[in-house]
Amino acid sequence: MIEKELRRRGSKITNLFVVLVKTSRIYDSTNVTYVNSFQAFTSALREYLSEMNRFELQTVYDLLFVSGVRLRIDLEAYINFEFLVEEFKRWDLGEIAFSAGIGDEEIEKFLRIFRSPPKTDPFTFLKETLSREGITNIQVAPPIDVESKLVTEDHRRERAKVAYFSSISAIKEIAHNLRTKQIVGLGRVKRVIYTLVDSLFEDESVLLGLTAIKNFDDYTYNHSVNVSILALAVGNKLGLSKVALGRLGVAAIMHDIGKTLLDRALINSPDGLTDQQWLEMKRHPIFGMERIIELKKLDPTGVLAALVAIQHHINYDLSGYPIAIPGDVLNLFSRLIRIVDSYDAMTTARPYQPIPYLPDLAIKALWRKRETSFDPLLLKLFIRTVGIYPIGTIVRLTSGEIGMVTGVNISALDRPVVKVIIDADGNIVKERIRNLEREPIRVDRSIRPENLGINIADYLL
């Protein structure tokens, strides 16, 4: 089954499973609501099993997978999927698998057992009870070994890296062509963005990690690609279709294209801008809209890109530049780019801002400006995407260890997954992963990598 189809049907069955689990805890087995949800789940499951033999529902960190394909936790599935992730955690479960030939009785028995876990060793209890009850077509497994998962994701990481660097190259090419007045088209940009979207569907954490690597190239290009990835990750949570994500990605990567028309000395000025220079700088959204229109693209992609270009410096309260008047409605996508653009700009060192915000502090700074500069709902969704300690943040743990955040726990945003780099005694550590949600350790504080001589790219690439 093609990945897209697997994802679609996997989401549907998972959703029905959650509804059934919830219903079974409220109603008895004769209640019509229960009967209906039971039938809905079993018929969808059996249809799937007739083709695939086995339906495997897995969690890795807080992500849900069906037979190895990651499910989208978008607005539609937000509440149900979070519930399921929590349930897996309560039972210390990594996987529930349903096999072909499963009977109604087995499912009913399972639902009865699955109501509340015992306080000690819930997984063993579940596994043994299933066996004792003769439930052979539902198997459970403990959480998947994170290390082996990382190994199996190597090829995805490679693909994401290629997509990332291709995007930088594509936006560079467009900027160069615009500057030198050569023919410009969006073909190449579209192509790299579409690959980013595909990578995002596979595993967004790899791409989000790449956005943490800053300043290895011209700021504008590096930044444009980061903004695109961050926007795509939030857009994915919003439940946008694949094609809509493609358009959003193109618009995001093009948002600063107007800057290509500004004097490079102005952009890279190490000192503060004079009033006159600042006025000039404020024209880049207008230049951006103009250049995108001049690409002769008034199709949905071009229109969105031009809109985002002109609106991305307008605040939620309609202050900002270049222009908005009371009563205007700022577009959803522009509000989203406003957040991710600010976040990436704040966390990136530039000639005129050599000390950037640490990622967690940037998140806090954004949060303090919700309702004024940033859309509060989108900001929440953004934080739920990148966490309180975004991937790539170097942190000191209460254990005294120092590590880099490599994953986000949606149900415990302040307790990320951390790859330990230096142990409490100051020794370099290679393969130690701490999922803070499962351990009595907390983040003590974030640290500037350069203070420890750490190049995060060494760990993320």
Partner: protein, 549 residues
């Protein structure tokens, strides 16, 4: 494992279908044959053996490492085109639908806009559920090592300006309450609503931003104006009439209409608005959303339609079902006045009776002015139904020259026209013609007319004046006929029937009296009159009962 020999056969069929599509286009029987052949076998294969993958090389295609197709001619080679666009593998999966396969084939022959798209992007945008592609990014090197630029050391001792004031200690002390970061159900619903409307909002907001933005490049205005039609088409698809109205207002702004390049492009946009491609979906949208549409905005857009849109409006009128919709379209068409009449005349020249009847219906229901000449022109139309309707319209219009024309029609050399005319006169109660009818009925040449025509005239006359005519018909019933004139007998019979048709107590008493006459002819005619009287009374009673029920 794919069955290579079978896949080879399938790919050859795919090539044939692609070539047929290229040569004949979709919908052509030759293409359909090739396509059905391909789909049937492909579907059958996927059901029996499951997925298979085609590996794409520069000039060939392989399956399981075995070459199954080769074409080294760069101008025709499909593998070459796929390979050049970065496609390295194509997978087909069970569940593939006919529509999907057809869409896929149409992409393979699509002429791409260089720099804007290629096969890889088109296939990706196609978002296929049962066809997958492996696409490579060409010419990109992933760096082995990446070192961040240290702007701080580069600065040396210079003072640091911060774009963002970093209040690090203060921020460290600040904590985001995690409970507040969770999205509540109403918040999720709010976002979902916005996501559902986002396509429409993007276009709408883009136009508002364009209106406001102090753009400096004349070229971008030119391109925007060039794209007005494309924008309007999309806005209409998204149901955003206000957006279309904004485009119109923008085009009419003085600062733009004064500029020749922009004015010319706006004119082209107006042409597009009047084309069938736009008018048809526009009207359909208005029809479906009539109660929800802002009428002022709708009128503003309709104001841009000129006589060029009449043929489309007329075509829609003919298809329209339901009184309200017909009225809406009829009024739109009638609103074009002379231009509409000019169009109707052209329609009549085509000699399609149904079309002409539709034009008459529009004239009739909207009481269109200045249509007399057109209607009169239809009196020579071959279809008597058209003539009848034309007369009806003419009478309904009731204008001075319309009446003159009616008089002319009553004397038309063609009997069916004369009959249709008097029937219409009666139907519309055009009492002003009563004297004229009297003149004809009592005239010398009336006797030479057919019984059918005489009946039409007598009945029309009776219907117009009713009781007033009882003495006249009594006279006709009892008329002395010593010479056995056929005409007098016909008129006796028709007078009796007219009395029965009038159906009042006075006309009944005349007929009863006649039925006791010593003259056989009078008796027989009176009995026929009485029968008609009774029948009409029964019909009326039944009608009244039905109404009561």
């Amino acid at each position: 494992m794919a069955i290579v020999a079978e896949v080879k056969g399938l790919f050859q069929k795919l090539i044939k279908a692609v070539k047929a599509l290229q040569m004949y286009g979709e919908g052509h029987p030759s293409f359909n044959e090739f396509f059905q052949n391909l789909y049937r076998d492909l579907d059958d294969y996927l059901l029996r053996f499951g997925d298979f993958t085609l590996e794409v090389q520069q000039f060939g295609v392989s399956c399981e490492g075995e070459e199954i197709y080769k074409d080294e001619d760069r101008s025709t080679s499909l593998p070459y085109r796929l390979f050049s666009d970065g496609i390295r593998a194509i997978g087909f999966h069970p569940g593939l639908t006919e529509a999907e396969l057809k869409q896929f084939l149409s992409l393979l022959i699509k002429e791409v806009k260089p720099q804007e798209e290629d096969l890889a992007t088109l296939i990706w945008e196609g978002d296929f559920s049962h066809i997958s592609c492996d696409i490579v990014q060409q010419g990109v090197e992933v760096p082995e090592e990446v070192k961040p630029v240290d702007y701080l050391s580069e600065r040396g001792e210079k003072k640091i300006h911060l774009a963002y004031p970093i209040e690090e200690d203060e921020l460290r002390r600040f904590t985001i309450p995690l409970s507040e970061v969770a999205l509540t159900d109403p918040e999720i619903e709010e976002l979902k609503r916005e996501v559902q409307m986002v396509d429409r909002a993007v276009y709408h907001d883009f136009i508002i931003s364009f209106e406001r933005a102090p753009l400096t490049s004349e070229q971008s205005y030119i391109i925007f104006f060039e794209g007005l039609s494309e924008l309007a088409r999309e806005l209409l698809r998204l149901g955003d009439l206000e957006g279309i109205a904004r485009l119109i207002r923008l085009g009419r702004r003085e600062e733009f209409s004064n500029k020749e390049p922009l004015r010319l492009r706006f004119e082209k946009f107006v042409d597009f608005v009047n084309s069938e491609e736009f008018v048809r979906p526009l009207i359909r949208f208005l029809i479906e959303n009539w109660t929800k549409v802002d009428q002022t905005i709708a009128r503003e857009i309709m104001g841009l339609l000129d006589k060029r849109s009449i043929p489309t409006l007329f075509a829609l009128y003919k298809e329209a079902k339901g009184y309200e919709l017909e009225q809406f379209l009829a009024r739109l068409i009638a609103g074009y006045g002379d231009a509409a009449i000019e169009f109707f005349t052209k329609v009549a020249e085509e000699r399609e009776a149904d079309d002409v009847l539709a034009t008459l219906k529009i004239i009739g229901t909207t009481e269109m002015k200045d249509a007399t000449k057109y209607i009169v022109g239809l009196f020579s139309f071959p279809s008597s139904e058209v003539k009848m309707k034309a007369i009806e319209n003419l009478i309904a219009l009731g204008e001075g020259d319309a009446l003159t024309n009616i008089s002319r029609l009553i004397a038309d050399p063609n009997e069916s026209v004369r009959i249709a005319t008097v029937k219409a006169i009666a139907q519309f109660g055009a009492i002003k013609f009563a004297d004229y009818l009297h003149e004809i009925i009592t005239g010398d040449d009336f006797k030479d007319r057919s019984y059918e025509e005489k009946r039409a005239f007598v009945f029309a006359y009776a219907d117009l004046l009713k009781e007033e005519l009882i003495p006249f018909f009594e006279k006709g019933l009892n008329r002395w006929n010593p010479m056995k004139s056929n005409h007098i007998e016909e008129m006796r019979n028709l007078s009796a029937l007219a009395l029965g048709r009038i159906g009042t107590s006075s006309s009944l008493s005349v007929l009863l009296k006649g039925s006791k006459s010593h003259r056989k002819a009078v008796r027989e005619a009176s009995v026929r009159g009485l029968k008609l009287f009774e029948k009409r009374g029964r019909d009326d009673r039944e009608g009244a009962e039905e109404k009561r029920e």
